[in-house]
């Protein structure tokens, strides 16, 4: 039995500008709804909903962002009088590796039979445009719907690794900044600052390359057999660089569309939109994020 992708979808802030005031929540809602529609599923069929986005509207810390998404898409909002099944939702924070972490958790609960249908949603948006410092991620959301299949392999392996010696290369925090001039902002305000060092991409490539080789070794995977590479790290140039290092043809790299090269947590789902996963094909997902954390997953469609 394998965990298979039933559908995925994305929602871009730019595309929704006329109909939404696209905050991270609306982007997540739109992506989740679109994903369910593509799979011809209803929200009530969801057993599990995991949000992996990091940069929320108002930098909300409570409740779990996933519970807001659950309410918005109308997934088993309250316990009915008759028998049924509910939806369990919570957030996973693992930076740019959050989607693959969420998928691995859904995979575990599908295998145990604890859930039958799970979704991972991720979206990021500048919570305070004009106030935040260093925020360069485009507003985009993504969703992926997963279920168990008795006859298809699906996700066959995951590998996670952390490299804390590079923790300072990608850092973001909300901290108080005094406002010496007073005025409407009063004595000061809490401000989000994102800092990504120029050397981050190179280090992320080093970390990702070694982690991919570990997975390949453990799974007896010949990287020449990879049909599609979906590699993301919130800054441009990562996927092509990793393909070169791994000896994977540039033609097999799922690229991010113009304007979304810096997509953060939803990036793997954005890249997946451009990649047709043919039956029998092998896809290698690689995400690198702050930490440095690397997540690698092998998917056999």
């Amino acid at each position: 039995m394998g965990t298979i992708i039933e559908a995925s979808a994305t929602a871009r802030a730019a595309a929704h500008r006329r109909s939404l005031t696209p905050g991270a929540l609306e982007l997540a809602d739109a992506a989740a709804r679109s994903c369910l529609e593509r799979a011809e599923r209803t929200a009530d069929e969801l057993d599990l909903l995991i949000n992996a986005g990091v940069y929320h509207d108002r930098i909300l810390s409570e409740p779990a962002f996933a519970s807001l998404i659950q309410e918005d898409i109308g997934a088993n909002l309250s316990h009915p009088e008759v028998a049924g099944h509910g939806t369990f939702s919570f957030d996973v924070y693992n930076g740019a590796c959050g989607v693959l972490t969420g998928i691995s958790l859904v995979d575990g609960m599908l295998a145990s039979g604890t859930v039958k249908l799970g979704m991972v949603v991720a979206s990021d948006m500048d919570p305070e445009p004009g106030i935040s410092e260093g925020f360069s991620f485009p507003g985009v959301g993504g969703a992926i719907l997963l279920s168990a299949d008795d006859f298809r392999a699906g996700f066959t392996a995951f590998r996670f690794a952390t490299f804390p010696e590079f923790a300072e290369l990608f850092h973001s925090a909300v901290d108080w900044q005094d406002n010496a001039r007073g005025g409407p902002a009063g004595p000061g305000r809490n401000v989000l600052t994102v800092e990504i060092a120029e050397s981050y991409v190179g280090r992320a490539l080093d970390c990702a390359e070694s982690t991919v080789h570990e997975l390949a070794h453990a799974q007896a995977l010949d990287l020449g057999d990879v049909d599609r590479l979906i590699a993301t790290t919130s800054v441009p140039g990562f996927a092509d660089g990793l393909a070169t290092r791994l000896g994977v043809s540039a033609e097999l790299v799922a690229s991010l569309p113009d304007g979304l090269a810096r997509a953060h947590t939803a990036a793997p789902l954005v890249a997946l939109e451009s990649a047709a996963l043919e039956p029998g094909s092998t896809t290698l997902f690689v995400s690198a994020g702050a930490g440095i954390t690397v997540a690698v997953a092998l998917y056999r469609a």
């Binding site: 519970s67 509910g86 145990s112 604890t114 804390p164 850092h171 809490n190």
Partner: protein, 376 residues
């Protein structure tokens, strides 16, 4: 209009449930069990009287009488979410008698992510720092966030993975540095009906739990279950404060309490049925610690609905306040250290948290008592 709900599937439950009657793995190859509960409490104490004396406006609120919170712990200058989490993690490892290198997974489940004082870290996740500090180099790590149900959610995830044999041993840990909610609320609260009143009840604490695969036939976690009743998701919201450092929390605490109690009854019934138990088979009932009044009201209504009463109801909110995701495990740690449990005791942990999250874990204490020097 009567709600029809989604069509039922064979053998299904409203909650996502793991486990079964008599502690059997119920289809899974293994049983998981707690082997170490750790905590880290700041030395500084702040009484409710002291906190209410600091409010900007004259409120006339007798907070201790209203909530039962006599005092809470307050982080010192060198303490924050990270240091409290690390302290609790080390404490749990000592009781579990295992090395950090033996951990396959580390899940950080704090709501608060303060590192270096009131600096809220988003990237990298806190788990990277905690894992490095304790030396859990082999462990897969990530953060989760599920309001006050965070540690219970982590327990649910670890339990599922251990039962399947995906991992052998894991830790869930939280460091909650949330007392600044009270400091910020004290600037704005005016009446008992204020939507920041609940912020005045919170306290700081770290807690950690280590779970591992139990030997064949040994008792452990019998049932773990969770669900989210999201029609109530917006009853409590927290985000960076406008009035000062740290966060602010706004909640409709009264409604949250009412719907929490009402919606939990069918979930309790479901989890107990799954375990083949009645409510009065529970020796120690440990609910989320919001206020003494809410706990007693909840137990009364649960007991009337379930037709039984647990032998003991654990209340620690008087001493520690509401320590958010850590409350159940701070209470467990305190009772284990004080030798309150017997080996054969059965404990039910109940989360009712913003979301609205309802989580239940039922387990036998068994070998845990010996680890705290009370093997009787």
């Amino acid at each position: 209009m009567e709600k029809s709900g989604p069509p039922a599937r064979e053998g299904e439950h409203w909650m996502s449930l793991e486990g079964g009657a008599d502690g059997s793995p119920n289809g899974a190859p293994y049983t998981s069990r707690f082997v170490g509960i750790g905590a880290s409490l700041p030395e500084r104490r702040l009484t409710s009287d002291e906190l209410m004396a600091s409010t900007k406006h004259r409120t006339g609120i007798d907070l201790e009488r209203l909530t039962g919170v006599r005092e809470r712990r307050i982080a010192g200058e060198d303490e924050d979410s990270y240091t409290l989490a690390v302290g609790a993690a080390r404490n749990a490892l000592a009781y579990a008698d295992c090395a950090a290198e033996d951990l396959d997974m580390v899940i950080v489940s704090s709501i608060s992510h303060y590192v270096g004082g009131l600096r809220w870290q988003l990237d990298p996740p806190l788990s990277i720092l905690v894992k490095e500090a304790i030396g859990a180099r082999r462990a897969v790590s990530f953060d989760i966030s599920n309001a006050c149900a965070g540690m219970m959610t982590g327990t649910f995830l670890l339990n599922d993975m251990i039962r399947q044999g995906r991992i052998r041993r894991g830790m869930v840990v939280s460091g909650e540095y949330i007392s600044q909610l009270g400091v910020n609320a004290a600037l704005e609260v005016r009446t008992m009906m204020d939507d920041q009143l609940a912020s005045l009840t919170v306290g700081d604490a770290g807690a950690a739990a280590i779970l591992e695969r139990a030997p064949d036939g040994a008792p452990g976690i019998e049932v773990a279950g969770f669900t989210t009743l999201a029609e109530h998701s917006r009853l409590c919201l927290a985000f960076p404060a406008r009035v000062g450092r740290g966060a602010a929390m706004y909640s409709d605490a009264r409604t949250l309490q009412e719907v929490g109690i009402e919606d939990t009854v069918p979930m309790l019934r479901e989890a107990l049925n799954q375990a083949g138990l009645e409510f009065d088979d529970i020796d120690y009932f440990i609910p989320h610690q919001t206020s003494a009044r809410a706990i007693h009201k909840g137990v009364k209504e649960f007991s009337e609905s379930m037709g039984g009463t647990p032998k003991h109801v654990v209340v620690t909110v008087d001493e520690f306040g509401n320590t958010s995701s850590t409350t159940h495990f701070v209470a467990l740690w305190k009772y284990l250290r004080e030798g309150r449990f017997a080996k054969e005791d059965r404990v039910l942990l109940l989360s009712i948290a913003s979301g609205l999250e309802v989580g239940i874990v039922i387990f036998k204490v068994d070998q845990l008592v010996g680890r705290y020097g009370h093997d009787h």
